[in-house]
């Protein structure tokens, strides 16, 4: 029987799921994903996590428990220290496997192999070998499996750059048919925020689909190529050392600079450290020029849907009026 490896539908899921899945399956494991976020998953996360942690971490706690319920053999929580040269992931991601281990009892084995590409990109090979060994495969086989995973990952990124959202891209990779874009949109809005916030329909109050239903074309930072992101982030006085925030900030500033969208909605999670700094910078840069409408939405476990709907509708109305006047 193959080893059942569980991947939580949280945090890095929206970045790397196709890569992990391919990699683990090539190693002969069966991949299990936690259920889509529900009120219950969030509540269980809140029970086991300190109040001061940010919303995405609390939610991820819930997803880990959901996986444990499914009876997986291994929970896949690689400690992602850095995925790019001279850059880091946020501190809470670095401590996440330890936080989980010390706070939830009776968990299956946690695989928290380090991924640290801060010095060299090729260090990913070390990670591949360690994971492979843990599942009982040799180093050649692991490297090969990881290479196949990376190939899948490139395909995933290409789909995102073509304007697909992660869930759509993942189902296209699975061989499902591609849905055609809706064409009757009059507004384009960039939704800027961490993928684990904006693509999770429960946590984000379904903001992306809501916008789409209101006749808006939605773009996110993930629809941009790495070069575009870097071009946007160049406006900042110092290179951002958080990879995830660099992507988000670069995306916002690029859309703003090129005037590609009618407005920008920045979605931040409660108590997210990097967001508190980059959100401030994005807002200051955009407001200073005053050429593009900007709205900030803060998500937490108490966010009411009605409040978000009202604000989004008002924001869209404002953009449409603005266009009528100009």
């Amino acid at each position: 029987m193959p080893v059942r490896v569980g991947i939580p539908r949280a945090l890095f899921y929206y970045y790397y799921f196709p890569l992990w899945k391919e990699f683990l399956e090539q190693l002969g494991a069966e991949v299990v994903v936690s259920d889509r976020t529900t009120k219950e998953i969030l509540t269980r996360g809140l029970e086991h996590c300190v109040d001061e942690a940010c919303l995405p971490i609390k939610l991820a706690f819930g997803h880990v428990q959901n996986l444990a319920d499914k009876g997986v053999d291994i929970i896949f929580l690689p400690r992602i220290v850095s995925v790019a040269k001279q850059e880091y992931i946020c501190p809470k991601f670095l401590g996440f496997p330890d936080m989980v281990r010390q706070n939830i009892k009776n968990l299956p084995m946690i695989m928290d192999t380090n991924i640290n590409l801060r010095k060299r990109k090729s260090d990913a090979g070390i990670f591949a070998r360690e994971v492979g060994t843990a599942i009982g495969k040799g180093s050649v086989k692991s490297r090969l499996a990881f290479w196949q995973g990376q190939y899948k990952h490139k395909g995933y990124l290409r789909l995102l750059e073509q304007g697909l959202l992660p869930d759509e891209a993942i189902s296209v990779l699975d061989g499902k048919e591609r849905k055609d874009k809706v064409s009757d949109t009059d507004l384009t809005v960039a939704v800027i925020g961490h993928p684990y916030n904006i693509y999770d329909p429960f946590i984000s109050m379904n903001i992306i689909n809501r916008l789409k239903n209101l006749g808006v074309q939605v773009l996110t930072a993930d629809n941009l190529t790495e070069q575009m992101i870097n071009q946007g982030v160049k406006q900042l006085p110092k290179k951002l050392f958080w990879t995830l925030s660099r992507r988000v900030t670069g995306g916002a500033l690029y859309y703003h600079e090129k005037g590609m969208v009618d407005g920008i909605i920045h979605v931040a999670a409660f108590a997210c450290g990097p967001d508190s700094m980059t959100g401030e910078l994005i807002e200051r840069f955009i407001r200073r020029e005053g050429k593009m409408p900007f709205m900030n939405i803060n998500l937490d476990e108490h966010t009411g849907e009605a409040g978000i709907v009202t604000r989004v509708e008002a924001f869209l109305d404002m953009m449409r009026w603005r266009r009528a006047i100009v």
Binding site: V50, Q102, F270
Partner: protein, 366 residues
């Protein structure tokens, strides 16, 4: 050029000593106060950590008394501090508070960048003199640390309430006014005498509590609600896991000075609770809890600013450490709403608990 820098406890003495040794005019901000905090809170992002808010308040107040250049440390993550200087600068820019900003941080490409930035402050002075100034700054930090450490021991045992605080103020003033390394030696001597003149009851039983956590809230008395003084008055001898001179030696001199206590002793024992660094001092905090438990301390207090990322990781792991080692640990989160009275109540409850525990232990062993 009038140089200023943010406050962090007695760090100003060390920095001022160093810069004045080089003949640079220094304008330290007024000590952190309610006004400093209010200025910061008004203009900073809500969920930024407390130090950022106080920094901005410091800068606005320093500008009012004539400072025109900010000297600030930087970093390369993953803690938010690495981006402080730039966010602060954007905030000040929008407020029309104009400063020249000099950020001292690890260079991106080569060491020349850092040296160039230092030159912006030091001008054309020879590097030998700059190094001597650095050493002078370090010596001052060490002298201040000695005085502080001695106050930790005297305060719970003092016979006249407030005698330690008065002596501490005097002793710090002696060190602050020393202009040269020679003067500093005499000042150190004098400050030692001042501290030794406090009359104490050597036999009074005291509890030993370690202060662990985030460096800014540990070092800045305004940010931690004068926790050391309150604990001392409650009859507790404190030990702080981080002293300024140790931090300078660890992070700036890369451990150049041997035989000085180093935070490495904490990192060594942090595993298996936290197996990786998480930026800031998160791993040190966990290690410190383990270490102080081994040293037989009665308890530990973790102090952190609200939303501090590395400390939240540590906070969520500390209960495990506490459960395994039997060291009672309480977490105090500081933000702009923290009142001293509320904190004192919590400290009293914690100290009561420790005392009760001690009595029980004695009853069992006797």
């Amino acid at each position: 050029m009038k140089v200023t820098f943010p406050h962090m406890g007695y760090m100003y003495i060390s920095l001022k000593g160093m810069l004045e040794y080089l003949g640079i005019e220094v304008v330290p901000p007024p000590p952190c106060s309610k006004r400093t905090l209010n200025l910061g809170v008004k203009h900073c992002p809500e969920f930024a950590c407390l130090p950022l808010k106080l920094n901005v308040g410091n800068f606005i107040e320093a500008r009012e008394i004539g400072a025109d250049t900010i000297m600030m440390a930087g970093g390369c993550g993953p803690c938010r501090f690495g981006y402080y200087a730039y966010v602060e600068n954007e905030i000040l820019k929008d407020l029309q508070v104009h400063f020249n900003l000099v950020v001292l941080e690890p260079p991106e490409k080569h060491i020349g960048e850092l040296l160039g930035r230092i030159k912006k402050i030091t001008g054309n002075q020879p590097w030998v003199k700059v190094i001597k100034a650095l050493r002078f700054g370090y010596l001052k930090a060490r002298a201040v640390d000695q005085v502080e450490k001695s106050s930790f021991q005297k305060r719970p045992r003092e016979l006249i309430r407030g005698a330690t605080d008065r002596a501490l103020k005097q002793a710090i003033h002696e060190i602050d006014s020393a202009q040269t390394p020679q003067e500093l030696t005499t000042a150190e001597e004098k400050s030692r005498e001042i501290m030794e003149s406090i009359s104490i009851d050597i036999n009074r039983p005291v509890l030993k509590v370690a202060l662990i956590g985030e460096i800014y809230t540990l070092l800045e008395p305004f940010a931690n609600g004068n926790i050391e003084r309150h604990l001392g008055n409650l009859g507790v001898e404190v030990d702080r896991s981080m002293m300024l001179s140790e931090w300078i030696n660890d992070h700036l001199f890369m451990g150049l000075i041997r035989n000085a206590p180093s935070s490495k002793r904490f990192i060594k024992v942090a595993s298996p609770y936290l197996n990786h660094f998480v930026g800031g001092h998160g791993q040190e905090t966990i290690g410190a809890a383990v270490w102080y438990g081994q040293q037989g301390f009665d308890g530990a207090l973790q102090i952190l600013p609200f939303t501090c990322m590395p400390e939240i990781v540590a906070q969520s792991i500390l209960p495990s450490v506490s459960g395994d080692t039997g060291l009672p640990v309480m977490t105090l989160i500081m933000d702009e709403h923290s009142g001293e009275a509320g904190m004192v109540t919590r400290l009293e409850a914690f100290v009561d608990l420790l005392q009760r525990r001690n009595e029980q232990k004695e009853a069992l062993t006797s």
